[in-house]
Subunit: 157 residues, 2 copies
C-alpha cells in the first residue's frame, strides 16, 4: 500500500492520479492571511462533480471502521477537516491506502469504488460531498458482489 508520506502531493492546488482507477487525490486552494485562513474548492472544477448532499462524520471511536461499501452511481469527495482518517480505496483490481490529515487535502472516490474509512484519531471530523441524494438502493455492501459487478461491467475483449 502507498500512502501520502511516500507520494506527497505538491504544495500548490491541484490533483494527482492514484493506483486506483479514477480515484484522485486533491490539494485545495489555501490562503493564509493574518485576518484568517481560507481553504476553498469549486465544484466541477477543483472537485469533479456538483454535490447534491454533504455530511459530516465525527465522534467515531478509534476502533471503528466505516464505509466498507461501494456506490453504484454516487461519487464522493472526502476531506478530514480535523484530525486524521485512513481511507482504503479499491477498484476491484488495485487498492491504495490514504491518510487524510490536512483540511486542504481531498480524496475523490468515483462510483464503483470500494472504500473503507478507519482510524479516526485526534477527534477527526470527516466532511463528505456526495453527487447524489441519499439512496439506500445505491449501496453495494458485499465485497464479492462488488467484484462480480466490476467484472460484468468490463468491456469484453
Amino acid at each position: 500500500m502507498v500512502n501520502l508520506s511516500s507520494q506527497p502531493l505538491p504544495n500548490k492546488a491541484g490533483a494527482r492520479a492514484t493506483r486506483v482507477k479514477n480515484v484522485t487525490l486533491h490539494r485545495l486552494t489555501t490562503v493564509l492571511d493574518l485576518r484568517g485562513h481560507l481553504i476553498a474548492g469549486e465544484f466541477g472544477r477543483d472537485i469533479p462533480f456538483t454535490p447534491q448532499r454533504y455530511f459530516l462524520v465525527f465522534n467515531v471511536p478509534n476502533s471503528e471502521s466505516r464505509g466498507e461499501h461501494a456506490h453504484l452511481q454516487c461519487k464522493q469527495f472526502l476531506v478530514a477537516l480535523k484530525g486524521s482518517i485512513n481511507v482504503i480505496a479499491d477498484d476491484g483490481a488495485s487498492r491504495e491506502e490514504f491518510v487524510l490529515n490536512e483540511p486542504n487535502i481531498g480524496l475523490y472516490l468515483p462510483e464503483m469504488t470500494w472504500a473503507v474509512q478507519y482510524r479516526y484519531v485526534d477527534d477527526a471530523v470527516l466532511l463528505v460531498f456526495a453527487s447524489d441524494y441519499y439512496d439506500a438502493g445505491d449501496y453495494i455492501r458485499d465485497y464479492s458482489e462488488f467484484l462480480t459487478l466490476i467484472k460484468q461491467n468490463q468491456p469484453s475483449k
Copy 2:
C-alpha cells in the same frame, strides 16, 4: 436584535424564517450513534440551492470582522463547524444577529443580503456553501451603495 437564545430552533431538522427578508435559519439532520455522529444536508432540499463552491474560514482573530459585504447574485449557507461565530444579516430594512454555535445549525443568506461575521471564538471554523463560483464583480462592499441598489430594486407602488 434577536438571537438564537430568544428564538430557539426546534430540535428536529427544519428551518424557520427570520426578521430579515428571505434569510432562514436551519437545523440540519443529525444522527447520534455509538459508531459515530452524522450531520447531513441535501442541496435543493434542506439547503435552498446547489453549490458551485465551498470554503472554510478559520484561525480568525477574535477581534476581526469578516464579510461586511453583500452579493449581487451569490447565495450562501453558513455553518459553524466548531466554536461560535456571530453573524449579522441585513436586508436594508431589517437586521438580525445570529449566533452560530452548533455544527447542525445553518444560516441561509440569499443574494442582496448585507452580512458581517465576527467574534470567532473557541477556534471557530466556518463552512460556507456558495451558489456561484468566485467572482470579484459580484461583491457590494459599500453599505450605502447596497441601500441604493435595494431601493432601485423595490417595485414601485
